[in-house]
């Protein structure tokens, strides 16, 4: 059993690593606390110790072990905050040069995908829109993919466990995120924010494929959807 689903993004392993870093700290803290809790229980039961030692802990001197522990906790907390900050910036605050730009709209109850049409630009009349349950989002491997996240009706949350990316989609806003994927295959796209009756059935697929296959896919879409090219972005 592996703890996480397979990672396919360039930044996913940083989140996994962060998990193990925090786990190490948590394990140490847990063992120490458990010892502090259990030791007196075994050692100081009323049967063994008839009379307790009077000790108020009011003096700063008495508190020093706790101060020490708190400082250690604070330091390790800040250590991992510091350690994780890079990953946060990578995922949330980085503008990458897009190799491929696609718009994704959450709606009750599926994700709708909008690819740029022949002009290579999004939000123009020749965009290709795929808007049905269980449909696929195709993206090329090893490319910077920039996604514009929209919501049409209520809140949704774009969640691909294998990328380690989750982002709420808010009606009336566009939120941009990016990823670069390193493995071909088909993965789940879920919606992680309660969005009504069929929230749990809101599932689409992410298909990661080589650039050639991807180009073929886009061509076929273009052929199939030619008459419907005037469709506009569902979020408008």
């Amino acid at each position: 059993m592996t703890i996480f689903p397979e990672n396919i993004s360039t930044y996913g392993q940083e989140i996994d690593r962060l998990f193990y870093t925090i786990s190490a700290l948590v394990a140490v803290a847990f063992v120490i606390s458990l010892f502090v809790l259990l030791y007196p229980l075994f050692n100081n039961s009323a049967k063994r110790v008839k009379k307790a030692t009077y000790f108020t802990g009011a003096k700063r001197k008495h508190f020093r072990w706790i101060t020490f522990a708190l400082v250690a906790l604070a330091l390790s907390d800040f250590y991992f905050l510091y350690a994780e900050h890079g990953a946060w910036v990578t995922i949330e605050q980085t503008q990458v040069k897009p190799d491929f730009h696609v718009s994704i709209t959450g709606r009750q109850w599926n994700w709708a995908f909008t690819y740029p049409g022949l002009d290579g630009k999004l939000y123009t009349p020749d965009d290709i829109v795929i808007n049905e349950m269980n449909s696929e989002l195709h993206v090329p491997i090893n490319k910077n993919i920039v996604v514009d996240l929209w919501a049409k009706d209520v809140l949704h949350s774009f969640f691909v466990p294998n990328i380690r990316l989750k982002q709420d989609c808010v009606p009336g806003r566009m939120i941009q995120r990016w990823f670069k994927l390193t493995k071909t295959g088909t993965y789940d796209i879920a919606c992680a924010e309660l969005c009504g009756l069929l929230h749990g059935k809101m599932r689409n697929f992410l298909v990661v494929e080589s650039q050639e296959k991807f180009n073929g896919y886009i061509d076929s879409l273009y052929k199939k959807n030619a008459p419907a090219l005037t469709m506009t972005n569902p979020s408008n």
Partner: protein
């Protein structure tokens, strides 16, 4: 010395004595019984949807089929009921009413009629919540966090039947919660005024027992944080009922605004529940270690700091809700910082055990169980306080497991510790020890079984509020399918074993061993009143000479010194 006058006109009739009573003890018990009833409702809902998660599509014993719509409604109401209609009456209103006047040595609350009214408003709010299940289409199902636009009207929901349910049930849900707030605010004013104004002679601030401090800090925290949500809820109600656009982006409204208002309350709310539970531990641990509470004053300062910090960390529930990423970093730091004062409080409790002479009575065992479980809850909070990891963990079962590891110990272990400790005081009877032990182990173990496995489901990517996972076969595979079943079996055992507790209450009330005034050799004032205390509590009013935790003082014969005992303690 003044003599209490109220002893002379104790109400006699059944109605005034048990139902429309203004006596703080009766009202406290009324809150607890109502809370128990609501816990049964919230627990039953949990049983139904937990069963559905493990055995999707099967008919649920005692219930039947559960569809997606009812699943959502049940999860939503389970959450709201457990937090506001079980946690609050158990820990804040219930304990506050029972204990504050007794522990500060007075006859009753400052405003007894207001107190009675707040209970009745609370009861009405419970009825509204339960009644909402029976309106056409069933209860509200938009999540206990009530996020608009889903919870606000004006949005075309493509299933018309579903839409109508939202329309009729949402206002009721909001109304129920609003009434609860009104009741808590009225009760809170009472707590604060009583504590400030009615303390026994000699009870200076640092002779007040920890739990009274904590109840008051919790009340203040509640009163300060609830205002924004009240304002937000009024706007949400209008969005629903008359179709305004406060949260409608098409009309300039901002859905994320509501999230801020909700969590500005929602986060302090967990401390509102946590503080009284910690207070219970702060009373129990010194008594059964026969030692002063370690660093009593420091604990109070630390929790005041935590209460102040608690209103500036709310957005850690919204790391990925579309807020500015730099803001998230700020709230991440705040969240980590707030863990430090609470860690200090917990370490002080553990330090109290060191060098003690520990008695493993029922209340003590529950208190130790609480600390053990909360340790896991608190430490897993460190993962979620890190905004980066939260990108992945947010809205998965990792979060569900984490907050149950905090909320369940707080609400139920806090409640049970308190009941096992103060039951002799308020009924004059002891609870049965053997039944109590069975109850403890049959709660502690199944609780861990239920929720520990869910951490792994969450890490595997399983997201919340989904009634069946058949569409996600990549996530929901072995061993996670088995984990779901294990969790459900744990939950069922957990719930069934609560009947042991009810039976214990029942049998001990009738046949329990009689309890004397001060069965645990405790210092605080409530133990110096009769068991059960008469109407008016004390005659004459006590005068306070000592702090609440003078156990095993070297200059005293006895290993405890009641607060109203005039002997002089030599400090060295």
């Amino acid at each position: 010395m003044e003599t209490p006058h109220s002893t002379t006109h104790a109400p006699q009739g059944f109605w005034t004595k048990y139902l429309f009573s203004t006596d703080h003890k009766t009202i406290g018990i009324q809150y607890m019984i109502t809370g128990l009833f609501m816990a049964a409702v919230g627990g039953f809902l949990a049983y139904v949807f937990r069963y559905n998660l493990a055995f999707p599509g099967e008919s649920i014993p005692l219930f039947g089929q559960l569809d997606a719509m009812h699943y959502n409604a049940f999860v939503t109401n389970h959450g709201m009921i457990m937090v506001l209609f079980v946690g609050m009456p158990f820990l804040v209103s219930g304990l506050g009413n029972l204990l504050i006047p007794l522990m500060i040595g007075t006859d009753d609350m400052a405003f007894p009629t207001l107190n009675m009214m707040s209970f009745w408003i609370f009861l009405v709010s419970c009825l509204v919540m339960v009644a909402a299940f029976f309106v056409p289409g069933g209860a509200f199902g938009g999540g206990w966090t009530l996020y608009p636009p889903l919870s606000a009207s004006g949005y075309v929901n493509r299933n018309p039947a579903f839409w109508s349910t939202f329309f009729s049930a949402t206002p009721m849900f909001i109304l129920g919660v609003a009434l609860e707030f009104v009741s808590m605010l009225m009760g809170g004013i009472n707590f604060l005024v009583t504590t400030i104004n009615k303390r026994a002679e000699g009870m200076t601030p640092f002779k007040i027992p920890l739990i009274v401090w904590f109840l008051n800090i919790a009340t203040l925290d509640f009163m300060v944080s609830v205002g924004p949500l009240v304002a937000g809820a009024v706007m949400l109600l209008l969005d629903n009922v008359v179709g305004t656009g406060f949260y409608d982006p098409a009309r300039g409204g901002d859905p994320v605004l509501f999230q801020h208002l909700f969590w500005f309350f929602g986060h302090p709310e967990v401390y509102v529940l946590l503080l009284p539970a910690l207070g219970v531990m702060g009373e129990i641990i010194p008594v059964f270690s026969r030692k002063p509470l370690f660093a009593y004053r420091t604990i109070i300062y630390l929790s005041l700091i935590a209460a102040v910090l608690s209103v500036v960390v709310w957005a850690h529930h919204q790391f990925i809700a579309g807020i500015d990423p730099r803001m998230a970093t700020f709230f991440s730091i705040g969240t980590i910082i707030i863990s430090i004062p609470f860690a200090g409080v917990f370490l002080s409790f553990m330090a109290t055990l060191w060098g003690g002479s520990i008695r493993f009575t029922m209340p003590m065992i529950w208190a130790l169980g609480f600390i053990g479980l909360f340790l896991i809850g608190g430490l897993t909070g460190l993962y979620l306080g890190s905004s980066t990891f939260d990108i992945y963990a947010h809205d998965t079962y990792f979060v569900v497991a984490h907050f149950h590891y905090t909320m369940f110990p707080v609400v139920f272990f806090g409640f049970f510790s308190a009941v096992y400790f103060w039951f002799p005081k308020f009924t004059g009877k002891h609870l049965n020890h053997t039944l109590g032990m069975i109850h403890f182990w049959l709660t502690f173990i199944p609780f861990n079984v239920t929720f520990f496995v869910l951490f792994f489901n969450g890490l595997a990517g399983q997201h919340r509020r989904v009634n069946e996972y058949s569409s996600f076969s990549n996530i929901m595979k072995e061993p996670y399918i088995t984990f779901e079943k294990i969790s459900t079996i744990g939950a069922i055992v957990l719930m069934v074993s609560q009947f042991i507790f009810l039976y214990n209450l029942f049998i001990s009330l009738r046949k329990g061993r009689k309890a004397e005034k001060n069965p645990w050799d405790s210092n605080t004032l409530e133990w110096q009143a009769d068991s059960p205390p008469v109407h008016g509590n004390f005659n004459p009013y006590p005068v306070v000479y000592h702090g609440p935790y003078e156990y095993s003082h070297p200059s005293s014969e006895q290993d405890f010194v009641p607060q109203d005992n005039p002997i002089v303690l030599k400090t060295n």
